[in-house]
């Protein structure tokens, strides 16, 4: 603590000394920190487009996800599926919807973009975190059909709303961004920067691929001008002034709202220990500026490798945001397990409902963590084993499989005490594997606090 303070102070003063003047020159240049507009760089383009930034398809999917989340407690499969698999009707935006003091510009999905769906963009690989070797879209479909009859199934402990929402954020947004747009589409010969993304477009292959990834991230175009707290309040529809960047009195979902993992990042960052939202959003912005600076030419190897540096910042921190969420909900689930131990009969339904919600979030985020660019290997296996297919019920049974009719198979495979221990071990696993820092609901913080109070155990001293 003491040490790092000293270091920070010294480094800060050195930085101040050497960059004092540059810093002054940059003050007030706010629009530099906004994602867009960016000019046309494409050679030979003759249309009337002036701003090449476009990620409305991604925003449409965020809105489909939010609306699906809203509908997943209402028990109508077809309605849910209209938002998941797309619909030829111009559907209503259920969420985020206007509320008192927070008017939203768009009312219908086509006000943003038409013809989009989530199903086509859901991770197609096998989901080992769920029984019966289903693909991503199959898992979502299975959950939606279960949610139709019983959105919160107390008999097995599943809260489908949480499962569907948290998994989609990973299997669509995170996966599409880090495993597709920032991966394959950043390769030298794919979607090159000296050609339009598709025929007739005013943006280049690289420009648009980058913008699509940014869209999936979910930050507002002006998120860098806001504090973590303000970004958080925008997502909570509590701070119109912060959201309404162009001061037209309404919140434009296409650029002024904070969605999905960007929102979760802000929730951790406002604790002050991390800066995920800022780091990721800044890397996106710097990467976009770099591509723009290529001026419609193919990216040189040097530029592309600089760009890949931004990609690593984005992928690594995004993964951490999800790992922080796993950590947080493992902590909540642990607390719920303790609370359920001596809960009164009157409080049981309420407590159990919380428990199902927390476990659902834990499961959804832990599945999201496994659909990134890299296979997290053994960490995933351990995580799946410790989280399980369903929360442990009070009679110590839990879901162990799904039978041929699609019914859950329940069994007793370990004790309540083991279930609690698993939550603690999941927290440790997230720290060890992903080096997370925010650590909300840290169940082992007492020990870490004592250890740091006592001081380092390093000692080359002969008393």
């Amino acid at each position: 603590m003491k040490k790092s303070n000293l270091k920070t102070k010294l480094l800060a003063s050195i930085t101040c000394l050497s960059f004092g003047f540059t810093g002054l020159a940059n003050a007030g240049a706010h629009s530099e920190d906004v994602y867009g507009p960016f000019p046309v760089t494409l050679k030979g383009y003759s249309g009337d487009c002036t701003n090449t930034v476009s990620y409305s398809g991604q925003i449409a999917r965020h809105v489909q996800h939010d609306s699906l989340k809203y509908l997943s407690t209402k028990g109508d499969y077809d309605e849910m599926n209209a938002y998941y698999s797309g619909s030829d009707k111009n559907k209503q935006i259920w969420a985020p919807a206007s509320k008192e003091g927070f008017p939203i510009k768009q009312i219908l999905l086509n006000d943003i973009s038409s013809g989009k769906n989530l199903s086509g963009k859901t991770y197609k690989g096998t989901i080992t975190a769920w029984p019966n070797n289903m693909t991503g879209p199959e898992v979502i479909d299975f959950w939606m059909s279960k949610a139709e009859s019983n959105p919160k199934d107390v008999s097995v402990g599943l809260n489908y709303q949480q499962l569907i929402s948290k998994f989609i954020m990973g299997a669509v947004f995170y996966n599409q961004a880090v495993d597709n747009y920032l991966d394959e589409k950043m390769e030298a010969d794919t979607k090159p920067n000296d050609k339009p993304y598709k025929d007739g477009a005013c943006y280049t292959g690289k420009e648009h691929s980058w913008d699509e990834a940014f869209g999936y991230w979910g930050a507002a175009a002006h998120s860098l001008l806001l504090s973590a707290e303000q970004n958080y309040n925008v997502a909570k529809k509590k701070d119109l002034a912060s959201a309404d960047f162009n001061s037209d009195g309404v919140v434009d979902l296409k650029s002024e709202y904070v969605f999905a993992h960007a929102y979760y990042a802000s929730s951790f960052d406002k604790g002050g220990k991390t800066s995920y939202l800022e780091d990721i959003t800044r890397a996106f912005l710097n990467g976009r500026k770099l591509i723009t600076s290529a001026n419609g030419e193919k990216l040189t190897d040097a530029k592309r490798s600089e760009l890949m540096g931004y990609v690593s910042i984005i992928s690594d921190n995004w993964e951490k945001v999800i790992a922080e969420s796993v950590f947080k909900y493992a902590g909540s689930t642990y607390k719920s397990l303790v609370a359920l131990e001596d809960v009164t009969n009157a409080d049981l339904p309420k407590e159990f409902d919380k428990y199902m919600k927390y476990w659902g979030e834990l499961k959804g985020f832990s599945m999201a963590l496994q659909v990134g660019k890299d296979n997290i290997g053994e960490t995933g296996t351990k995580l799946n084993r410790m989280v399980g297919f369903g929360p442990m019920l009070l009679d110590e049974t839990q879901i162990v499989g799904i039978d041929v009719n699609g019914n859950y198979v329940m069994d007793k495979i370990y004790s309540m005490n083991d279930a609690k221990l698993h939550m603690l071990k999941i927290q440790k696993l997230m720290i060890d594997q992903f080096g997370i820092e925010a650590r909300a609901n840290d169940m082992l913080s007492d020990m870490a606090d004592l250890a740091s109070k006592i001081g380092t155990s390093e000692s080359a001293e002969n008393d």
């Binding site: 270091k7 221990l421 020990m447 004592l450 155990s457 390093e458 000692s459 080359a460 008393d463």
Partner: protein, 339 residues
């Protein structure tokens, strides 16, 4: 660049962090205690006392000079290896999980204990467990030839100064770090598991209250030329500076005595206690004929490796088959500390 900064910072930290032995305030208080002892007990004048305390023959001796070098070099070495060492938190977490899996160990069993009792108990236990583990490990350092080869570096000091505390072979430093991690990990995990939320530490300037007291009451004089003695009864409980000086003595009757760090109780219980004597007559070091040649960096860093390794190689079988090691074989490495 970064590494030089870290080294510099670690060096500064040793003197500015109240959790460290040579924190500037502790050194200053030690001087006051030494002066008090010389004036009141030894009936020296203030001037004589000051001259005696800051004796350049001690602080610029070959022995002391090598202490300073070792201090500096070890800072660098520890900085490089410490990120790879087992920490107290790793051990605490592992033990906590282990307790969890034993069904009859109820978590939070004593959670209703008043908070001040928990904190007092933790503060005291941490100090006692730490001190006891130091005693045990120090004893091994003298009893096991391959460890003695390392610990000899510390005992090769022919003058004691507060900086002699750092005169430690890096491998020995590794053993000490593990000891500290285990002692702390054990105390932390046990308390947090059984007392749940209320565990805390009473501190002064950030240091454990008892560690602070130990340091304020002249821990730095343990390695010094000021042979402060306690009352006979107190030397059963706390190790006086003079008692520790005796641990460094070359005299046969002082071999393997006073292993304790702060508490003398362990020496008393396990039969290694020796009361202090007039330390001005003590000769310090290993007691070989060429003790003054033991201050080179080669002797301090390289030879211990070689000796320790040679011993392990020669006695590989006996050690791993738990056979009694033949005395005559190990004796050469014991030099003046035979069993």
């Amino acid at each position: 660049m970064e590494i030089f900064f870290d080294i510099f910072q670690n060096l500064v930290d040793q003197f500015t962090n109240p959790k460290k032995r040579v924190f500037i305030l502790y050194l200053f208080i030690s001087i006051l205690i030494a002066a008090g002892w010389l004036i009141l007990h030894k009936k020296k004048s203030l001037k004589e006392s000051i001259k005696f305390i800051f004796n350049p023959k001690v602080f610029f001796s070959k022995s002391a000079t090598s202490d300073y070098k070792v201090f500096f070099i070890n800072q660098v070495i520890m900085l490089l290896i410490s990120p790879h060492l087992l920490t107290q938190i790793t051990i605490a977490t592992a033990l906590y999980f282990f307790f969890f899996e034993i069904s009859f160990l109820d978590m939070g069993l004593f959670a209703t204990t008043p908070k001040y009792v928990i904190i007092s108990l933790f503060t005291l236990t941490h100090f006692i467990v730490d001190d006891f583990s130091k005693y045990i490990v120090h004893r091994w350092m003298h009893r096991w030839p391959f460890l003695w080869a390392l610990h000899k570096v510390h005992h090769s000091a022919t003058n004691l100064t507060p900086m002699t505390v750092f005169r430690t072979h890096p491998l020995e430093g590794l053993v000490f770090t593990l000891r500290s991690a285990f002692a702390q990990g054990l105390t932390i995990s046990t308390f947090v598991y059984f007392f749940a939320g209320g565990v805390d530490l009473y501190t002064v300037l950030g240091a454990n209250l008892f560690v602070f007291l130990f340091n304020v009451f002249g821990s730095n004089l343990r390695h010094s030329h000021i042979g402060i003695r306690y009352w006979r009864w107190l030397e059963y409980i706390l190790i006086s500076p003079a008692q520790h000086h005796l641990h460094h003595s070359v005299a046969k009757e002082h071999y393997n005595k006073n292993y304790g760090a702060a508490l003398a109780i362990w020496d008393w219980v396990f039969g290694s206690l020796h009361h202090s004597e007039d330390t001005e007559t003590l000769t310090l070091g290993l007691g070989t004929n060429d003790d003054q040649k033991k201050h080179s960096l080669k002797e301090l860093y390289l030879i211990p490796f070689v000796e320790s390794f040679k011993f392990l190689k020669r006695n590989f079988k006996s050690i791993f088959l738990f056979k009694k090691i033949k005395k005559n074989k190990s004796e050469i490495y014991y030099e003046k500390f035979p069993q």
